[in-house]
Symmetry: D3
Subunit: 147 residues, 6 copies
């Protein structure tokens, strides 16, 4: 039942965002049988961040959009990642702040045991702050769910 050291889905999802060359790293993951995608979104609306990630995940075939259980798994992973980014209230513009984020969605089995099946990780990294250039600091979030 243990996590596999070589298959730490959260670690991989975060390193993807912090990498110098995310595209190359994503390709490497795909060669190792991971499904994944990366993207960027900047907004004062939390719902636009959610929508950007959902759209990317569906468009890149990370989740099967006609099956609700897959969207449900992804949605909760996104919300959990947003907790790390917002640290208290999952609110942006309504409390006068904005984000500029890179995101990654990764899908695969991080456990030794085959029966654990697929899990999904959503990672977010970027800046949060006032809607004034430079008035911001870094922020990160990670959500992990079974799918």
């Amino acid at each position: 039942m243990a996590l596999s050291k070589d298959r730490l889905i959260g670690r991989k999802a975060i390193l993807l965002l912090l990498s110098e060359d995310p595209d190359m790293q994503l390709n490497q993951l795909k060669e190792n049988n991971w499904k994944g995608c990366i993207g960027k979104v900047g907004s004062m609306d939390a719902h636009k961040v959610v929508a950007a990630i959902e759209t990317a995940a569906k468009k890149n075939g990370i989740i099967e959009s006609t099956i609700y259980r897959e969207s449900h798994a992804l949605y909760h992973a996104i919300m959990e990642a947003l907790h790390g980014v917002t640290r208290g209230q999952v609110q942006l513009g309504s409390v006068l702040r904005t984000v500029g984020l890179s995101f990654a969605v990764l899908r695969g089995n991080p456990y030794d045991k085959e029966q654990e099946g697929d899990w999904i990780a959503v990672s977010l990294y970027g800046t949060i702050g006032a809607p004034v250039k430079g008035s911001e600091h870094e922020t990160i979030g990670l959500g992990i769910n079974h799918i």
Copy 2:
């Protein structure tokens, strides 16, 4: 007022945790005039996680323990990092879950402008789950504050 690309304190604090050789990387940061420390803590009590980080930061001279404003800055950075780890309620054993975490505390000025002074980053990475071996997944958190 902008963040300096070479001095992204949050990114550095997280990479420190995900590194193959954290000690070497920490030494490298110190040579570049960052203050920092790393450590590990596993507990079902959130207050023990807070205490472990505070103790390490004071013992390693990251913050000046006789000045309350420094402890205050660190405390809020820890709490913000814990939001990412717990994603909803900053509670562990009281909702029957436990964490095994690495942590890093980093101090320096991540901005181009000298007047921005020192900031502090607290990063957390590890596992969260039921108090049963293997019943856990990864988790991450980052808190950043001016000091």
Copy 3:
């Protein structure tokens, strides 16, 4: 001071929503000296859910709209019921989700003792999910307050 088994206001308010024939059941409650009303509301705006329930409760004379203490009691019961529905952040469209809800408001004394006076129960039952047909699951909430 104990709750009366025959007068469990929360249980009654929920069964009203889950009933095959809510109107008949509501009439029965009214014959037994309960005040109550039922309604439906679908929205991505939490404030529209609040408004729909408040309007129904005032229009049906469940609360006296010229007395603030009655509105205050109802408002907090609604907010508590919304916690059950939203499970974390009392937000809908701002985190890209929508609800389709039935609601009931019931007023009466659920306790053996007369001095306990009137209490108000707000129950909510329906679906919550993405703004995509079928991408939703059920949800319930109950708020109870003295009035």
Copy 4:
């Protein structure tokens, strides 16, 4: 992708708790290919409520205890149900209140489509209040997750 009117898992899980004869109703559900169990727990410790439900679900074979994804699904359903019960902070004794709850765990596919697979519903109904007999009112919670 729509919810099946005859297979509303949340509605069934709640009616189970509010029924006059829960055991009979549970048997009927089992005959219709649902997995489920019911139980009771009273405590000032939220973690004891979590543990009681997890133990019952494992003992009754509702979830497979050797597969973490099943425990993970159940845990989050329990936590969501506790949000409805606690309405704000998932805390009991630490804010001087106690609960006396019935619980039900139900497992099956509530959707028309077979691919949606199994979902799990955790329902809670009982009283919450001061640790003084009679100083309490009713409370309800429902958590639903894919499994």
Copy 5:
């Protein structure tokens, strides 16, 4: 339905705590037909803060302890005041912090209209911080409820 300028219950409850001579001010309020009491509590346990206020309010006859609706009104006013003190999570020792508080409970009708009946205000003022002398700053909270 408006608040009466001379009878602002929240303002009075806070000024009571900040006064140079709280006892004299409390007596003056009592002469003007307010019920009220003041007290002090220091703890790392939120439930001890709740208990201290409830005990003082009952002992001083501010609420009628045999009627649950009165305890219920007071409890929610206390919890709301604690939100102001804790600003995020209603937790003290579990996140390694402690409080030293003065509290006041005041009861009366702050509205022009007689039908608004009695309301209750709970005010808290003091310090919050690390369990180290001097490592603390001020904090305040106010909860108001109909009774």
Copy 6:
């Protein structure tokens, strides 16, 4: 490291709001080397409350608007004060309520020790309630941060 009895920044910031003659009291504080300002804001949008306070603080030179660390300190003090005002979810119009607030921002060193440097206090006092005249009660909030 102790708080100085004569320099309790939170107490001063609140008394400023509750004073009969806030302008005079503010002038007195300025003569004693405090920086401060007062203002009023009424809104259903939390972000307008944040903006009003930030604008006043910058315009009156309480914080240096070209240095992000100062805005950062102020922002978190405002958010903490809003927790006291909203008591649960930092939301106004989105849950159908509105505020009418006075605010004060005060800056100075409340500690005996010079090294503690400047701290900032944001106090809020006014009413919160339904967007219907008179359907409201008082509310208060205080946020304190090092700057």
